[in-house]
Symmetry: C2
Subunit: 176 residues, 2 copies
C-alpha cells in the first residue's frame, strides 16, 4: 500500500467504521466477486442495471488515455448475495482495446468483469486511483444504506501498458 493510500484510509477510518472485510475489498488487487464468494461462502449474483456505448468525454478520455469521442462501454451492475445488495459497480471499458472474446462477454452478458478477464486469461495489472466516502442518495438507495456515507474506490485495469477499463465500486453493508 503506498503512503498516500495509507493516509487516505486513516482519514476514512476516522469518519466511518471499516470492518476487515471491507478493508480487504477496498484494497485488493484481485477480483471483488471472488473475495465476496469467499467471504459469504455462496454464489454472488450479478444484476445488470445499465449497459450502453457512449463517446468518451474529456475527463474519461484523459483517464483512459484515449481521444475524446472514442467509444466506451459503460456498464452498471449490482453484486448481491441472499437478496442483499453488497456492491454497486460502474465500469468504463475502452472497446477498441478489448480482445474479441472478452468484448463479446462484456457487451452481451452480465458476468462480472473479473470473471470475464479470468475466463479469457487476460493479463492485467490493477492500479487504485482513489478511495473515499461519497454522499449519493441514489446509490445509497440501491445499496439499502440508511446513511449516506458510501465507501468507494476507483481503479484502472491496465492491459498492454494502457488502461483497458476504469471501475468504480461502491460498498454496501457486508455482513459475514
Amino acid at each position: 500500500m503506498n503512503k498516500q493510500l495509507k493516509k487516505t484510509l486513516k482519514d476514512i477510518e476516522k469518519e466511518i467504521h471499516i470492518t476487515p472485510f471491507l478493508r480487504a475489498l477496498l484494497l485488493t488487487d484481485g477480483s471483488i466477486t471472488t473475495l465476496l464468494e469467499a467471504f459469504k461462502s455462496c454464489e454472488i449474483k450479478i444484476t445488470g442495471l445499465k449497459q450502453k456505448i457512449v463517446e468518451a468525454d474529456e475527463k474519461l478520455s484523459e483517464e483512459l488515455n484515449i481521444n475524446p469521442g472514442e467509444m466506451i462501454n459503460e456498464r452498471e451492475v449490482i453484486l448481491s448475495a441472499e437478496q442483499k445488495p453488497l456492491v454497486y459497480a460502474k465500469s468504463y471499458a475502452v472497446i477498441l482495446r478489448l480482445d474479441i472474446c472478452a468484448k463479446n462477454d462484456i457487451l452481451k452478458t452480465n458476468a462480472p468483469i473479473g470473471k470475464i478477464l479470468k475466463k479469457h486469461k487476460v493479463e492485467t495489472h490493477r492500479e487504485i486511483q482513489e478511495i473515499g466516502i461519497k454522499s449519493d442518495a441514489e446509490i445509497a438507495k440501491i445499496l439499502n444504506l440508511n446513511n449516506n456515507k458510501i465507501l468507494f474506490r476507483i481503479y484502472l485495469i491496465i492491459h498492454k501498458n494502457m488502461p483497458l477499463m476504469k471501475i468504480e465500486e461502491y460498498f454496501g453493508e457486508i455482513k459475514i
Copy 2:
C-alpha cells in the same frame, strides 16, 4: 470459482474449519500480502528463509513449461504480523522470463512477490492449480501450528502466456 475447486473446498471444509478470512486467502487472485495488510490493519513483515538458484527438475520443468535443467530461483519466506507467522510461501521463478528490474528485486530482496510485480507493473494472470491440506511437521513448526493439518494452495503466475512462477502458500492460524 470452477466446479473442481468448489468441490475440493467443500471436502476440505468437512475436515477443518476455514474462517472467511482463510477462505479469501485461499481463493483470491490478488496479492496475499495486500489482503493480510487489510485484514490485520498493520504492516506485514517478510522474513527470508532461503534463496537459491537451482536447475529445474522434471516435475517443475513440466509445470513451468521449460526445459529440464533450466535455471529457477527458489525462495522461501514467512509473512508475519506482530511477531506471529501467518503464511509460509515458497516460490519458483523462471529466471529467463523475469524482466530485468523485477529480477533484481526477486533475487536480491525479501520483498513479497505480489509487491514486486505491482511495483514493476508486470501484467499477469493467476491460475490456482491446487488447494488442500498437508501434513508437514517442519512447516507446522514454522507456522506455530499445534496440529499438523496445514491449509495450502499452489498457483501459477502467468505472464506473456507462459508460467513466470509457481507459488506454494501454507496458511497458519490467522486471527483478526
